[in-house]
Amino acid sequence: MRRVLRALDRYWFAPARLQDLALFRILCVGSWLLFFFPGMERTQPLATADAHLFHPLLVVKILMWPLGPWGVRPGPMFLHAVFLGTMTAGVFALIGKYTRPSLLILAAGNTLLWGHIYSYGWVHHGPILLSVAFWILAFSPSDAALSLDALQRRRHAAAHGMRFEPVPPTAESEHAGWPLRLVQWLMALIYLSAATSKLHDGGLAWMNGYTLVYFTATDGIRWNMPLGIWIAQHPGIAQLLSIGALLLELTFFMAILVPRLAWPYVLGSIALHTGIFFAQRAPFFEHVPIVFAFIGSLRRYPLWRRAPAPARPPWTVVYDGLCPLCIRTMVTLDFLDLRRRLSYLDLEADWQRVAALVPGLDRERARSAMVVISPDGVAHSGLGACRQLAKLLPPTWPVLPILYFPLSTPVGNWLYGRVAASRKRLHCTVEACAV
């Protein structure tokens, strides 16, 4: 028994990249905000329908329970407020500000809104995976990377300890893997449920070709989908497609057990749902962001091996290690450096290495303004350094034109000088001061 528990512990809590989990959060929340949120045009007509049509789902009863008697019906104004609150929470969850509370509000609001829509006699499957994924993300450390929360925590810790350490994108945690693995298993169980229903209700005859001909014909004609009608006129192709669909649903869990198979199954899943849409207009596009729960396996076992690109020599940022503002700035630069183009040298602690990179560099000049050294040894300081950094860091590209506006050089130099002159500078590091 203990060995089983240890094996389960090793499986669910195996270290995984925090950045993968954060990326999954961004993909799920971003796609929800753009495409999959429950719009008020669906909610409001139902909220004003006759009360006897309302048969609340259990989840609606549970979520409404703190606000009234068991089974209370949410009113139109309340639902509108929930919608606005949920959308706001979605934006916060996307950028990673107050991430976990925002995800909790997003999960509850989204579940309540969809649950309310489905409390009038018809339930759809489309929003299920995202609804559950938001709850899972809310209880996970999805805020530990690619979030303003993470940036703020790092800036605070770095300034407090007067120490800057770059964090590689490969940083791992034992709590970063289970949410992604759980979403993978949820997908596998859902596919398995669909496959077992087909085998139970239709038997092996489900793959006879005429079954898919019938489904694509009924939906293709109803929604005027040429692909559906075409498949309906080719039973042989319909048979191949139905065998492929059932095999994919039945064996999807193999993508989890054998990570090398993740790519074929992920592509198969995307092709299945895209095909279903274009043949039958059944929109299950919520599954597309969800398949990125396999992001770790997809990266580890790519479809084809590319020769590793030659490592590009980094640009070096020389900063003042005795200046809290400079240390916080370095944390921000490291956060924005998605392409890992920067390396960092502390002016005080690493002066020998700085001098070796740019032999003629004046130490006092480096103390007065940040210096950025290109791979071929050219030093840029002050506003020039800011311009180089803006070019190197993709998230700052939108502000790049501002740095080259007419008069931006005198104004920028003046502004930079003001900030540099007013920054605090300590006389020693925390450790040195303690000594």
Partner: protein
């Protein structure tokens, strides 16, 4: 064990149990009660050739008589898509239940159609699936029934202030 780990184990256990139990009900109708943890029985029956199926279209005769005919969609009727199709299918039945559904559709058009109407019609297309698949996708529409108001009268839209399901 840390609190963080205990919470993770609880979430894993709840999600896998609630979704995993749906595997035990493969042949049953969709389990809506525990949404978002439901089973997936859609499109699970098997079909053999030859097979025929039909689709229906509810149309409104605009007033004055002889003006154009417009199709009533589920959005016009303010009814969920598949419920609307089920209603149309039920209305093709020549028995009492079909009559009752025809009354319901007439009532829906009277209340929801925004223009004066001089009658409603139910049309049907019947398709055939043979050994070569779908035989024709452009089969002609056939009139199933037609209803008109009393001679010279029309169904007028109700005032917008009234709220109906």
């Amino acid at each position: 064990m840390t609190l963080q780990k205990a919470v993770a184990i609880a979430v894993i256990g709840i999600v896998l149990t609630l979704q995993g139990r749906q595997l035990w009900y493969p042949g049953e109708p969709q389990h809506d009660r525990y949404w978002p943890f439901v089973n997936w029985p859609m499109y699970s029956i098997s079909v053999h050739a030859p097979k025929q199926f039909s689709r229906q279209s509810l149309r409104v005769l605009a007033c004055p008589a002889g003006a154009e005919v417009a199709e009533v969609t589920h959005e016009d009727a303010h009814v969920e898509t598949f419920v609307f199709y089920q209603m149309l299918r039920a209305a093709t039945d020549s028995g009492p239940s079909g009559e009752a559904m025809t009354d319901t559709l007439e009532s829906l058009v009277k209340r929801k159609w925004p223009h004066p109407a001089c009658g409603i019609q139910l049309w049907q297309q019947t398709f055939h699936i043979g050994r070569q698949g779908l035989e024709r996708a452009d089969v002609p529409w056939v009139l199933v029934w037609e209803r008109r108001p009393e001679a010279g009268a029309s169904w007028s839209p109700e005032p917008a202030s009234r709220k109906d399901p």
